[in-house]
């Protein structure tokens, strides 16, 4: 592989969970509904029906753009993208062409294992409508328009990835952000988040850096691009890309240029397969959607939307590390689900925890709380008050009634004479059993280390 550098870019579609569809008042939650019952003249493309854009969807798309550090365009518009397919009722999709809501962003991703960071460019974030759904049954094809016109945000990245692992990390981070924004279920299996990687290989320049005169030349994109569709999990994304990289490398080794095409991914076989050639490039005949006036946003409107952004996962990670000296891995795990991070935030703000003595290795109370959550020592399903109580109990220095402890140990030894025999006969592993019995009798009010020590002495 070293002869080639992978060049990978992503196109991600996220279905917004707004109450109504993008351009009509039908429910945007179409999942599991009887076919063609969640439709109206607008989303079914009746003669004379007109689209009216969903304000919330526009705001949410801007929010996604802001979370991805994009520039929000003050002037934006919808365009018609024409193509014929039975699931597209108007024969055009209302999308955005040259004035997307947001563009020129970046998202920094960090490999949790290597803890190395990488910046991925976000080309654009735009809003469009979803299509209906086709079901092929034998000779027939059935169309269901329940999904038609559900708001869809398209996120396009720069071809900044050079390996599949980073793609997976990026997708997981993006998925987490979308969930934090609470704008989509972003469920890959249900299709509310879909991704299509564009994959190609660049032949690495044999020239040394000093020899490259034209810097731009060394970054030139390959002269072909393979798009892979039907990927419905992050793992499949990684597998599909890895498969493609090998497939393309083999072709390049033979001196062939992989054809420009769209390929599907078969998750059972773990392979990609050719779907349609991109040679016959579609001409979408984009033009500004005359049914929807262009959108103009003021700075104030844009900033008001920005104010609704929550603290994002990578921001939380950075804060936890900076303010609480958490380990990256702990901070990462804590922030994958916003509720967990919020739970953590509210527990550590509990004043009664300030005077708790935590073990030295925990450094501080925040680390100890993080540890308790990450290692599931205390469940986060209980109320925060209960959590605090359990946490305090866990860290209270145990006052041992040594007289009672001696009695209990003696009685355990007496009660399990057989086991004592076996232990003395060499089954030293039974020590754990004795400790357990003692701790049970003591109802946990003893230091296991101490119990161990006494038992060892008595069983000599």
């Amino acid at each position: 592989m070293s002869k080639y550098t992978p060049v990978i870019g992503l196109e991600i579609h996220v279905e917004l969970k707004t109450k109504s569809k993008m351009f009509c008042q039908c429910d945007s939650d179409y999942f599991g509904k009887k076919p063609n019952t969640n439709t109206c003249p607008v989303c079914i493309g009746m003669p004379g029906a007109l689209p009216v854009p969903n304000r919330t969807a526009v705001e949410w798309a801007i929010k996604i753009g802001q979370a991805l550090n994009c520039v929000i365009n003050k002037h934006s518009k919808f365009d018609r993208k024409h193509y014929f397919y039975p699931d597209l009722p108007k024969a055009y999709q209302i999308s955005q062409y040259d004035e997307p809501l947001a563009e020129h962003g970046t998202l920094e991703i960090q490999n949790p294992k290597t803890e190395t960071a990488k910046k991925i460019g976000i080309t654009r974030v735009h809003l469009e409508e979803d299509t209906g759904k086709l079901t092929h049954t034998g000779k027939d094809t059935l169309v269901d328009f329940n999904r038609s016109s559900v708001p869809l945000v398209e996120i396009v990245t720069e071809p900044d990835f050079d390996n599949a692992e980073d793609v997976k990390i990026f997708l997981e981070e993006l998925h987490t952000i979308i969930r934090y924004l609470d704008v989509s279920d972003a469920n890959m299996e249900e299709g509310s988040m879909r991704m299509e990687p564009n994959i190609s290989l660049r032949v690495q320049s044999t020239k040394s850096k000093a020899q490259i005169i034209n810097v731009k030349q060394s970054f030139e994109l390959p002269n072909y691009k393979v798009e892979v569709k039907n990927i419905n999990s992050f793992n499949f994304a990684k597998k599909a890309i890895d498969f493609e990289l090998i497939r393309q490398a083999k072709l390049l080794d033979k001196g062939e240029t992989p054809p420009q095409e769209t390929r599907g991914y078969d998750d059972k076989k773990g392979i990609t397969f050719s779907q349609r050639s991109k040679e016959e490039a579609q001409d979408y005949r984009y033009f500004p959607e005359p049914d929807i006036p262009p959108m103009v946003f003021t700075n104030e409107e844009i900033e008001n939307i920005r104010k609704t952004l929550p603290e994002l996962p990578h921001q939380k990670v950075a804060r936890y590390i900076k303010d609480y000296d958490l380990k990256y891995a702990d901070a990462f795990i804590l922030t994958r689900i916003m509720k967990t991070a919020q739970y953590f935030d509210s527990v550590i703000s509990d004043k009664t925890l300030q005077n708790i003595d935590v073990p030295e290795k925990s450094k501080n109370v925040q680390n100890a709380v993080a540890n308790a959550i990450v290692n599931k020592r205390i469940p986060t399903s209980i109320s925060q008050e209960e959590f605090v109580k359990e946490f305090i109990a866990l860290h209270k220095p145990i006052e041992v009634d040594s007289e009672k402890l001696t009695q209990v140990i003696d009685s355990v030894i007496a009660q399990y004479a057989n086991q004592v025999e076996q232990y003395k006969g060499g089954k030293v592993g039974l020590i754990g059993f004795f400790i357990g019995q003692v701790m049970k009798e003591m109802r946990g009010q003893a230091d296991p280390q101490e119990v161990h020590k006494i038992l060892l002495a008595k069983l000599q």
């Binding site: 109206c40 493309g45 003669p47 007109l50 014929f84 005949r285 033009f287 500004p288 929807i292």
Partner: protein
């Protein structure tokens, strides 16, 4: 009671004063429509009986509606066989508003298929005849609506105007027709032709009827994002104000116009002057720019708008499209194609902005602009063949207002030597339909429109 020639306003008071009952009115117009339709072919569909239970100012008033308005439960064809069996499951905003006001849908009027044309000749349901002379075109595309009003088959009608489709047949049939400002009336449920041009509007025998219908039709619609929130004034009281207006004449619009039309127009200018209005010369961009802009943008929009008629969800498939629709789809598809977009559509939009600015600037110096409406009066059936781009040629004086999106009305100003009506166009500033109504009403009071409307229907008494 003889209802012949009564305006909607007349009928409203007759009904109110119980001089005539709504069923009698219905029967009268249903009967006339049925009989006269055999010769004139103004309707694609006629309704059997009244079916509106709402009570309002239009209660008992039968109105003819162009067949490109979706009417729930009533077949809507846009005069194309593609929609031969299409019965909409929903109602257009305009007809909803009329329904709410109590109107009775009398029938769906014939038009050029998909509103593509200025003659009704492209209709898949036969040509509508001009009531003035059955050998002549009624104009179009709202030819059925114009003919129905001219022959008094209906006291009033609703049309739609993309590049002259209300004004042109109104001029050729000798009635009052208004294309409102783009966005003044909701397009929801009107089968789209050129989406950035389409304007629903009223076609009537009197200015007051026109103002009254627009009052009902106008306003912001939550179902049409391009409808305007600009407040709707009380048109009838605005209409009756004694105003002295400053009226601009653009000589550019007189070029190539038939002498009879020129004479009638100049005569009208003298009348206007005598009425005490100030007449000034204004200079507008030549209409030919508007024709180019209109042709390119409208064809592009048509090609996009007709894509949905694939026969999968409703109606017939693409095989049922006629020649003109196919021609427009081809041309529009071409202008939007990769590599041509900038040269055609984008450039057209730039020129369109110039046209808008040109009008805005001109309206700083004049309340209204007047000019002839059509270069010729109603042509003989068959003459269409002589003119490629017939519609554009006939609408060359209409299209500037369409490209700009300003309101414009056609009123009758006389007859030519062949006894055919001549129309004059009154163009107003954005959302200033009130001034148009004001001048038109004053002219109507002064001249009775030279009895053109009366003479037109007289033959069908």
């Amino acid at each position: 009671m003889d209802l012949f020639g009564k305006t909607i306003t007349d009928l409203q008071s007759l009904i109110k004063d119980k001089k005539v009952s709504p069923p009698e009115v219905w029967e009268y117009f249903a009967q006339r429509s049925k009989t006269l339709n055999q010769d004139i072919n103004a309707y694609v569909t006629l309704l059997d009986k009244p079916n509106n239970t709402n009570l309002g100012e239009l209660s008992g008033i039968p109105i003819a509606v162009k067949d490109n308005y979706c009417t729930e439960g009533v077949r809507t064809t846009a005069s194309s066989k593609v929609l031969d069996d299409f019965v909409p499951p929903y109602e257009s905003t305009v007809t909803s508003k009329l329904k709410f006001a109590g109107y009775e849908l009398l029938g769906k009027t014939n038009m050029d298929a998909w509103a593509h044309g200025a003659s009704t000749e492209t209709s898949d349901y036969g040509l509508t005849k001009n009531p003035w002379n059955l050998d002549r075109y009624p104009g179009g595309s709202s030819g059925g609506s114009a003919a129905a009003v001219a022959a008094y088959m209906a006291p009033g009608a609703i049309g739609s105007d993309t590049g002259g489709s209300i004004r042109h047949p109104s001029a050729w049939c000798g009635i009052v027709g208004l294309k409102p400002t783009y966005g003044r009336v909701s397009r929801y449920g009107v089968i789209a032709m050129g989406s950035s041009f389409d304007c629903p509007g009223p076609m009537t025998q009197s200015v007051e009827d026109n103002a009254m219908l627009l009052q009902i039709m106008a306003g912001k619609d939550p179902y049409d994002a391009t409808s305007s929130p600009v407040a709707v004034p009380d048109y009838r009281s605005e209409m009756k104000k004694k105003r002295k207006l400053k009226i601009g004449i653009a000589r550019e619009y007189l070029k190539g116009v038939e002498p009879d039309i020129q004479t009638a127009f100049e005569n009208m200018v003298e009348v206007i002057k005598k009425m005490g209005h100030e007449v000034v010369d204004v200079s507008l961009m030549s209409p030919e720019y508007s024709i180019s802009v209109y042709t390119i943008a409208q064809r592009a929009e048509v090609s996009s708008n007709l894509g949905r008629y694939d026969g999968i969800r409703y109606a017939n498939n693409r095989d049922f499209f006629g020649q003109e629709a196919k021609r427009r789809i081809m041309l529009g598809t071409y202008t939007l194609s990769h590599g041509y977009y900038d040269a055609f559509y984008k450039k057209a939009q730039k020129v369109r902005t110039l046209i808008k600015n040109n009008f805005k600037k001109t309206f700083e110096d004049a309340n209204l602009i007047i000019g002839p409406n059509t270069p010729v009066t109603a042509l003989k059936v068959g003459e269409f063949e002589k003119y490629p781009f017939f519609g554009e040629l006939m609408d060359q004086l209409n299209e500037p207002a369409s490209a700009a999106g300003i309101p414009a009305m056609s009123i009758p100003i006389g007859l030519d030597s062949r006894n055919l009506p001549i129309g004059m166009q009154i163009m107003g500033n954005y959302f200033d339909e009130a001034s148009i109504f004001n001048l038109a009403y004053q002219i109507e009071q002064e001249t009775k429109f030279f009895d053109v409307i009366k003479k037109g229907r007289e033959k069908y008494k």
